[in-house]
């Protein structure tokens, strides 16, 4: 991360803005226990479905709980799942990709496995996996990581196949470098850019998918507040208290949009070849 890189990354003002917005979301959610105006679990019958007002800035839900406080606390779980999936699916996917790229006998089988995994629509595969693992935060993270890992496997396999044939890798090998050394010093170094870009997008997709699963009632346990479960809970009051689903939806959209714009910026800065004209 040189000064040159930062300048390149934030060359477009929209990328800088998006990055700052996402950073703000993360900081606000991390500080939730400090800055929340109220206890997110405290119920109050009299405050049921209060619209946004001075006492409840974003209103109160069906149990009279403060929506703003719940939003901040729920964001921690939603962001944690997004980040966890980005990291875990990278680890699983890159490992599979390197295996396919270096261990020839495994390549055909692993590649077809990856093709088959990618034939399942994200949500459908995630639903099936969560129904087996159960709905804890970690299990949802694991299920979504399995869903998204094949994308990393594809990227890293393709790069590995190219890099392992390059002259400098052959030279390193002839000088006695082992496979482990070549992976660490040549292959990983060369796939790190596309993987980071992809991980940013997966972070965003995972947050969307988690919200979708929670909305369907097949994601994390409904007692754990996430932005998705908040929308699911607020759904039955949509005709009288639409703000209950408005704010968590905005929170998801803002986070995902800012992450995607940041991802686009990263792609342009790290690998101009990838960006083309999109």
């Amino acid at each position: 991360m040189t000064p040159g890189f930062t300048r390149l990354l934030f060359a477009r003002r929209s990328v800088l803005l998006a990055f700052l917005v996402f950073l703000a979301v993360v900081v606000l959610c991390l500080l939730a226990p400090v800055i929340s105006p109220a206890d997110p679990a405290k119920m109050s019958v009299r405050a049921r479905l209060t619209p946004p007002s001075g006492a409840f800035l974003l209103g109160a839900d069906a149990y009279g709980r403060d929506v703003l406080s719940r939003l901040l606390h729920a964001g921690r779980v939603s962001l944690l799942i997004g980040l966890g999936v980005a990291v875990l699916s990278t680890l699983i996917g890159v490992t599979l990709g390197l295996l396919a790229g270096f261990v020839r006998p495994l390549d055909a089988a692993l590649s077809r496995l990856v093709d088959a995994m990618m034939a399942f629509p994200d949500i459908l595969l995630a639903i099936a996996l969560v129904s087996i693992f159960g709905g804890s935060v970690f299990n949802v993270m694991l299920a979504l990581s399995i869903v998204y890992a094949p994308r990393f496997a594809r990227i890293s396999r393709a790069s590995t196949l190219v890099i392992r044939e390059l002259a400098f890798v052959e030279a390193a090998r002839s000088l006695g470098s082992g496979t482990g050394y070549i992976i660490r010093n040549h292959v990983l170094r060369n796939i790190v850019s596309p993987v980071i870009v992809q991980a940013t997008f997966i972070f965003a997709y995972a947050m969307l998918a988690e919200a979708g699963l929670s909305f369907l009632g097949v994601g994390v346990d409904p007692s754990i507040p996430t932005w998705g479960t908040m929308i699911n809970e607020g759904r039955q009051y949509i005709d009288t208290a639409a703000f209950l689903i408005l704010f968590p939806g905005l929170a998801i959209s803002i986070s995902v949009l800012s992450l995607q714009i940041t991802g686009d910026g990263l792609r342009d800065a790290l690998d101009p070849k990838l960006s083309k004209e999109l």
């Binding site: 088959a116 995994m117 034939a119 939806g249 995607q260």
Partner: protein
Amino acid sequence: MWRYVLKRLVGLVVVVFFVLTIAFVIVRLAPGDPAALLLGPDATAADAASLRERLGLERPIFLQYLAFLGGAVTGDLGQSIFFNQPVTQVLAQRAEPTVFLALFSLLFAVMIAAPIGIYAAYRRGSFLDQGAVSLAMLAASVPSFWTGLLFQRYLATDLGWFPSSGYGGPDAGFLERMRHLMLPSLVLGIVNSALILRFTRASMLDVLGEDYIRTARSKGMGEARVILRHALKNAAIPIVTVVGLTFALLVSGAVVTERVFNLPGMGNLVVNSVLRRDYPVIQGTLIVVATLYVAINLAVDLLYAVIDRRVKY
């Protein structure tokens, strides 16, 4: 060409084999005894044991796997625990809303994305172009169920422009059923227009830089004709590919959208099957959808070769 088709068909068979294997493994990992689930809480251990015997659950896992593969190849995806009907029959009964929802939303998506994408490429770098690209990104960032809920509340409940949910009741005619699909399709179409818009724009940008476009213009041809006849015709080829790519996105979106609008389709079925622990139905849906995805993408690739004579395999 035929060699290529054959090679791709063999590839398809291999991938479908992996799809079946994954679906088998997923259901085998599921907690609980299928026989006990089938019989309900009142069954005795002896009942469960005899049912396990009948279902072949006592056989070695490898033989069960072979039987499952054999069944799947002949169109037998097992028996639904909840409905006590063949899974294929359960799925077929719920295919109509899902299939038409996917088709209509694809149509909406193309109707929204193609004109904007073409215009954005034509006025590259303009305010409108940047606006279009940002809008596409926004559409891909907003959860579809959230848009669905808001549209349902404001466009259906408040303004009464659309039916707010359901599929028109048990004896609704075909047109009435389709009318109930309009709002859900619009919601899903908006979400899916993002990818198509980006593809259309990029593909048009590529073509607009070609020599023959300059030639067409220099011989005095009208702009509309240059763009719509010469450029679009060639730009359309990569756009066809995106239809195959959006299929998975459409199905994922359909699962959630059916839930929002309470449509009796396959998406709603899957979610209910999870809540009912009806694993054979989940397994069957996974197999059918993934196989369709692989087949559609193969069809698109072959279509590519038919449309564009320059593509040689």
